[in-house]
Symmetry: C2
Subunit: 339 residues, 2 copies
DNA sequence: GTGAAAGCGCTAACAG
DNA sequence: CTGTTAGCGCTTTCAC
């Protein structure tokens, strides 16, 4: 920078102003500086800039997950993409922190919670009992939670409307004439699972259908868990299943096929996510599309805005979902009523 | 740091020495400093340290991928995990850079290729024609490529032995009596696909079996592409298929089932990856297990070593794979020879 | 509109 | 073994 200041015949301050697009620089000087920057292929040292300006232009993404679920569920890669693209678009760098153990957390926490390395934090909503988010709130770092946190006083977060999504899906099954509607939920300690289960209950209650525990089983978002969950469900003879993830739905349909059930005649399925897979399963899966990429992208936007304007007031953003109707849920049930 | 130096009654240099575990500090002074650090819950500003020491302790992971493949293939999350855990273990921070367009690359390249923000770079081997790795080699940054690069002069890289893995898998099918062995390869412009295809050819050649183009089709690593690839393969009536990815193998088996073929009696399958899914497919999938997590973890180790000791000589590390035999490939073919 | 000067918070010779 | 003194490469008042 010294060099390019000399070459352009100005001071370092002026070069700095040009680089940072400050006003109050005469056009010709700006042009001259820009040219020498071009010719020198100079690029500012980001560390030095961060130290001087107290802004690193780096955002941290914390993923407090057990090892398996991180790579079982396509949700994370997709979310990460949205975040990464947003970071790039707004000229920020993304730091990735996978927290898979308590030791990880102890190592990572001080690194991310003090001013210095990061301007702000995105954290995936953890499991019930997880204290990470509260600890993070205790620090002065701007924070946006992805997914509804359990203790949500004064945190900004972004989530999809899981309750309503599940409600809509199950209501659809009811409308088609299904009456023994089961659900394969996700892990009970995540807010996602809780909310989807809540939507399931709401829809049943609304139509005065019983909420039967023998029709409710739990998986862990993997294909395999869906397969076994479905086998456990068999004795209860459901005529439809609302599954909290496409991957589990695929596994569940595999179990149904093996048992000789015909889909959707004997049993209907609705998944959640709308993975690319869903359109090509046998039969194609009716599912709830959630804007995962948008979730990540918007989270970055919110975080950046809070970094700029202060962390209060906490913002809450809920994105809508969409029911994508394919053939796994059938049309009106064969025994069914007209709509 | 100023404060804690004063509180401990020493100079800042001494505090620095203690923090960085330098020798030549008396035990009692060290202890005193450590105590005040504890009580103050002081944590050094990493940006300042990076600027002063010219080492950021931050590694960059560059993923030059088209959008879809990044989240279709569980390979990436798993790899990322290995890398993230290694970074954490060695007290480094991981920066994630997804490159999904030429503009992305132009924005990201200067950020990562100059000293300042990163100490070193991990880059996923790109596609044929991709110039990113060469550009990166032109910079002075330590670099480790994950996967065999196309132009491999003087780059350090780490890869699994894809040629040998495919050779072993196909040889196994031959040994079981299969004679019309097809393959569903990955995208032709990736080194992974090329190497696996090479191993396929080697095995056939060794036993003087013809390499029949009608038995060779291409997918893109997704389940769906495997499904359609298998349908394209049907007319050629293969009695076995070596599939370059488990996900595609699952899709291919789905197509085979739909066509009324029995696995492994009519047709055998071998996949690649050994995803958790593979053990639970119908039938359980014989597949090549590759140490993806290790790949990532070791890549970090190599990079860190090069950062410490200089980037020359380039290191090449090839990890071994393992054929996991399940029932999708059958035992000796029903028409078969004894082994 | 531009330059001079003072840091940002830490590390690293260099003395002692 | 410890303190003093310069910086690392940039941003940012504050004068002019």
């Amino acid at each position: 920078m010294e060099d390019i200041a000399r070459q352009a015949g100005v001071s370092r301050s002026t070069v700095s102003r040009v680089i940072n697009n400050h006003p109050h620089v005469s056009d010709d000087v700006r042009k001259r500086v820009l040219e020498t920057i071009q010719s020198t292929s100079f690029y500012p040292n980001l560390t030095a800039r961060a130290l001087a300006s107290q802004r690193s232009s780096m955002l941290g993404l914390l993923l407090p997950r057990n090892v398996s679920s991180f790579f079982a569920d396509p949700f994370f890669p997709r979310l990460t993409q949205g975040i990464a693209q947003a970071c790039n678009q707004f000229n920020n760098t993304l730091g990735l922190f996978l927290i898979t153990s308590a030791e990880d957390e102890e190592k990572i926490f001080p690194r991310v919670s003090r001013k210095g390395m990061l301007d702000g934090i995105l954290v995936q909503s953890g499991q019930y009992g997880d204290q990470l988010i509260e600890r993070l709130m205790g620090s002065e770092m701007p924070l946006v939670v992805i997914g509804r946190p359990f203790y949500k006083e004064d945190v900004s977060y972004i989530d999809v409307d899981n309750v309503n999504a599940a409600y809509t899906a199950v209501s659809h099954l009811i409308r088609l004439g299904r009456r023994r509607i089961a659900t394969i939920a996700g892990a009970a300690n995540s807010s996602v699972s809780i909310d989807r289960l809540e939507g399931y209950r709401l829809a049943l209650n609304e139509k005065s259908l019983p909420v039967d525990p023998s029709l409710m089983v739990e998986g862990d978002f993997t294909e395999v868990s869906g397969y076994y969950a479905m086998r456990n469900l068999m004795p209860a003879k459901p005529d439809a299943v609302f599954v909290a993830a496409d991957l589990m739905a695929i596994g569940a349909m595999r179990a149904a096929h093996e048992a000789g059930l015909s889909i959707p005649d004997d049993i209907a399925f609705i998944g959640f996510d709308d993975l690319p897979l869903a359109a090509y399963s046998t039969p194609p899966l009716t599912t709830v599309r959630q804007p995962i990429y948008q979730l990540g992208f918007n989270a970055v936007e919110i975080l950046l805005e809070q970094i700029k304007n202060g962390i209060l007031p906490a913002r809450r953003v809920i994105l809508n979902t969409e029911l994508i109707i394919r053939s796994s849920c059938g049309t009106t049930h064969r025994k069914g009523l007209n709509i």
